[in-house]
């Protein structure tokens, strides 16, 4: 018996030791602050890519046209580079540029002597090929296809590219500031629809600070300094990018120097790690409802046709309370943030009793089941949906919420729902409103290809000064609040977490981590 007790005590001590061990301060700082696993060195910046959402696979480098992140930002440059607002750019691969007064002709001069990491010259042919190919590529961020659809002609003479547009597009430079130029000599024979799955991405030729080192499928890839980079070489000489399932675990085990995210569990978990510094980044990450109205295929959802029903449903939901589920959420009433000068001041109010009366007065069939469809399976989203279901049940409705495994298909093709819950990490306010375009590939299937927004969208995209842009935004807000096709709940702020191993230059500002901006990487140092 004594032996048993001794064994039990020994086990208890092991667990206690594990729970309390901290070689430094006794708080929750990780015991491996150097971050180096055995054999590691401290001259390497360690990045991680999460593979748990299906958008990144662990057998190749993500394609920057679809998936911008710190790793691809270090590998691929654009004609321009944005500041942290993403709405102001300066030349990067470009030497200079001019825009005609009517906003229809862009003349961009490329820098001399640019080279790819394999030593080939980077020329205007690469730029033109990239822009033309992007429009037919299978997986690409919508900001590029929207902008490049406005291009009428593109040609080059010497180092000068001339691009004419069919109509002014005010965000064109900002979009070009994100658009990575890819090597034509490596990819020109590839079917654009298969470009993102091409073997090129296992050993890509780059034009940024870093060239590809080694890819170890399922584990990591490494980056080494690009010997042909024409700018100031970075002080950090090597980067490793590990494929992980969970950012938080990677941070808790001190195996990553830079990560980002806005999930509640991640933000709360990172707050307890003293060897990381967090940087809150204002981003337009919309969380919003969409109503399934009718599609251009003729399939109509009769229950949601009455705008009074849609308004009453929103009135039944306390969006301010829902926002508290997220670490940094700001309630919205349109696509324009409340603090923006163009915000029109309208507010969706929460009034449970009035909502109940309004739903009954609208003639809505109270015996039918209201169907909610959502696709985010993280716990915060599940909690949010459960709370929404509760609010709607309080209004006397029977509600059924379905978690979709294929959001795009279920929300825009199958369409067996009344209210959809979506998220959108938006490049700009404009991107929110382009979803109302009558020819939007997805939203025409639930907003019936309504053309009412089209002239206002054209007005917004061609606005070249703040006053005319704000005027267009105010009209768009009024129309969206009248139609109630989609209703924003809130925007969710994002966070960048940086290990204390990294010394950032003074004044470094981070942007939306899903885009690229100038973070003065050349002057980053490792402690």
């Amino acid at each position: 018996m004594k032996k048993l007790i001794a064994l039990a005590l020994a086990l208890a001590m092991v667990f206690t030791l594990a729970a309390c061990t901290n070689p430094d301060s006794g708080d929750s700082q990780n015991p491996n602050p150097s971050g180096s696993t055995p054999g590691g060195t401290s001259d390497t910046l360690r990045l991680a890519l999460s593979t748990n959402d299906g958008s990144t696979t662990d057998d190749k480098v993500p394609t920057p046209w679809y998936n911008r992140n710190m790793a691809t930002n270090l590998m691929f440059r654009s004609l321009f580079i944005a500041d942290s607002s993403l709405s102001s750019v300066s030349p990067d691969l470009a030497e200079s540029y001019t825009i005609s007064d009517d906003g229809l002709t862009y003349t961009i001069t490329l820098k001399d002597g640019l080279k790819w990491s394999d030593g080939e010259a980077l020329t205007v042919d690469d730029v033109i090929w990239s822009i033309e190919t992007a429009q037919a590529t299978a997986m690409i961020n919508a900001i590029y296809t929207s902008a490049f659809a406005k291009i009428d002609t593109i040609s080059a003479e010497g180092n000068v590219i001339t691009m004419t547009l069919t109509e002014p597009y005010s965000a064109m430079l900002d979009v070009l500031g994100q658009f990575a130029i890819l090597p034509k000599h490596c990819l020109e024979g590839v079917d654009p629809l298969n470009l993102d799955t091409n073997e090129f991405w296992q050993n890509p030729v780059t034009n940024g600070y870093f060239a590809m080192g080694e890819l170890n499928v399922g584990n990591y890839f490494t980056l080494v300094v690009n010997p042909n980079y024409e700018g100031t070489a970075p002080k950090i000489q090597k980067v490793t990018v590990s494929f992980v399932n969970d950012f938080l675990t990677a941070a808790q085990s001190s195996s990553v120097d830079y990560l980002y995210g806005n999930a509640t569990d991640l933000v709360e978990g990172m707050e307890s790690l003293t060897n990381y510094t967090s940087y809150e980044v204002e981003v337009l990450f919309y969380k919003y409802f969409i109503f399934n109205m009718a599609g251009t295929d003729g399939k109509t959802n009769e229950a949601m046709q009455n705008v009074e029903v849609r308004k009453a449903l929103i009135e039944a939901i306390d969006r301010a309370t829902l926002a508290t589920l997220y670490p940094s959420a700001t309630v919205l009433n349109s696509g324009v943030p409340n603090e923006h000068e163009a915000y029109n001041g309208f507010e969706y109010t929460f009034d449970a009793e009035k909502a109940k009366a309004d739903i009954q007065a609208s003639g809505y069939d109270m015996s039918r089941t209201l169907r909610i469809c959502y696709y985010n399976n993280d716990q915060t989203s599940v909690d949010l949906i459960n709370t929404i279901v509760y609010y709607l049940q309080q209004a006397g409705l029977t509600v059924e919420a379905t978690l979709s495994n294929d959001g795009t298909t279920d929300l825009f093709t199958t369409r067996e729902y009344d209210i959809g819950f979506k998220g959108k990490s938006s490049f700009s306010i404009d991107e929110w409103y382009t979803e109302y375009a009558s020819d939007d590939a997805l939203f025409q299937m639930i907003f019936n290809g309504d053309t009412d927004f089209d002239p206002l969208l054209a007005e917004l995209s061609s606005a070249t000064d703040t006053a005319s842009r704000n005027a267009a935004l105010e009209k768009l807000q009024a129309l969206e609040q009248e139609k109630v096709y989609k209703v924003p709940l809130f925007t969710v702020g994002n966070y960048v977490f940086m290990s204390n191993n990294v010394k950032l230059p003074a004044g470094t500002e981070f942007c939306n981590p899903l885009y690229n901006c100038d973070v003065d990487f050349a002057n980053w140092e490792l402690a």
Binding site: T21, G40, A138, I140, V217, A441
Partner: protein, 319 residues
């Protein structure tokens, strides 16, 4: 015996076909359109003609039974097809399967040594300290889900103590491949081993106890044969026959169980590949990996049958 083996082998063929049929049509019933995963929505509408061509090229417009026949024909000729990300599935399997076999192999060997060892000692020293502790741990090992054990392992040994990495199989900064392999394999192997040890320990103990209470053991003792010889030569050898069958049956469980453990540890084996394929609706990969796991189970089941028949002639005579 040869007739028995041939019969069992032939029976596997219709079973594999039925499994492949269920896997293929089951996944088709989910209604997932692979084009949605291959092409972004904006491109879908802007390149409708090209998308139709792509659909035709991929054979997605053919009747389901034709698609199934083509897929099965491909599998039989060694062409496993392509994942939705364009990677040949054969290449994916060739890269990932060794990782899983490595994980399952080490777990199998370790669990066999530890489980059988403790089980035998528990039986010999029945109601002793090792027996009590072993029984408690066996119950715990079976009762606690493996993913929970994995998470606890990470929390204790990776996050709190910092002894082992929490994810992946290879460290990009590793300088010693052996040390790196040990560090990365330790936690997932230990997690898989704990669950397996529990089963083997209980089974080995009970079987050994049965054997030790049998008449021939009493006879051996009465002949004055040394006790260690009684345990090893007469007890252990006879007790191990059914334990080996159980061990064989655990192989598919190990490979199936690694789906969860690999995800917990971001271990780049077949399990993680399957989980990621499910997340990204990459059903060609899901189909092939499911089929591989099912085939492994069938092969193990076949080997168990053969082993049983070898150990006990009544089995093959009964057939």
């Amino acid at each position: 015996m040869l007739k028995f083996i041939l019969k069992k082998l032939l029976l596997m063929i219709p079973m594999l076909i039925v499994i492949s049929f269920i896997v293929y049509f089951g996944l088709q019933l989910t209604g997932i359109d692979p084009i949605n995963s291959m092409v972004s929505p904006e491109v879908l509408s802007a390149n409708a003609d090209r998308i139709d061509e792509l659909r035709e090229e991929l054979g997605l417009n053919d009747p389901l039974i034709v698609q199934y026949g083509r897929w099965l024909g491909g599998i039989l000729t060694g062409d496993l097809g392509y994942g939705l990300d364009g990677t040949p599935i054969a290449r994916t399997i060739a890269t990932r399967l060794p990782y899983t076999l490595e994980l399952a192999g080490y777990s199998l060997i370790l669990s066999a040594i530890i489980g059988i060892g403790i089980g035998i000692i528990s039986a010999i020293r029945q109601n002793g300290v090792i027996d009590y502790v072993g029984r408690v741990l066996a119950v715990l090992g079976q009762a606690v889900p493996q993913f929970l054990v994995g998470i606890l392992m990470i929390w204790i040994f990776s996050i709190k103590l910092g002894w082992f990495p929490a994810s992946n199989r290879v460290d990009p900064m590793a300088t010693n491949a052996f040390v790196d392999a040990f560090l990365h394999l330790f936690l997932p192997v230990a997690t898989l081993t704990i669950g397996m040890v529990a089963v083997l320990m209980r089974y080995a103990r009970n079987t050994m106890l049965d054997v030790l209470n049998s008449d021939y053991i009493k006879t051996a003792r009465s002949k004055g044969i040394p006790e260690w010889k009684v345990y090893l030569k007469h007890g252990f050898r006879n007790a191990m026959k059914p334990v080996l069958v159980i061990l064989m049956f655990r192989i598919p469980t190990l490979i199936g169980g690694s789906v969860v453990i690999e995800s917990v540890f971001s271990y780049p084996g077949i399990g993680t590949t399957m989980t990621n394929a499910i997340t990204s609706n990459d059903y060609p990969v899901v189909m092939v990996t499911t089929l591989i796991i099912a085939a492994t189970m069938l092969v193990c089941s076949f080997m168990v049958d053969v082993l049983n028949a070898l150990l006990d002639p009544r089995v093959r005579l009964g057939e």
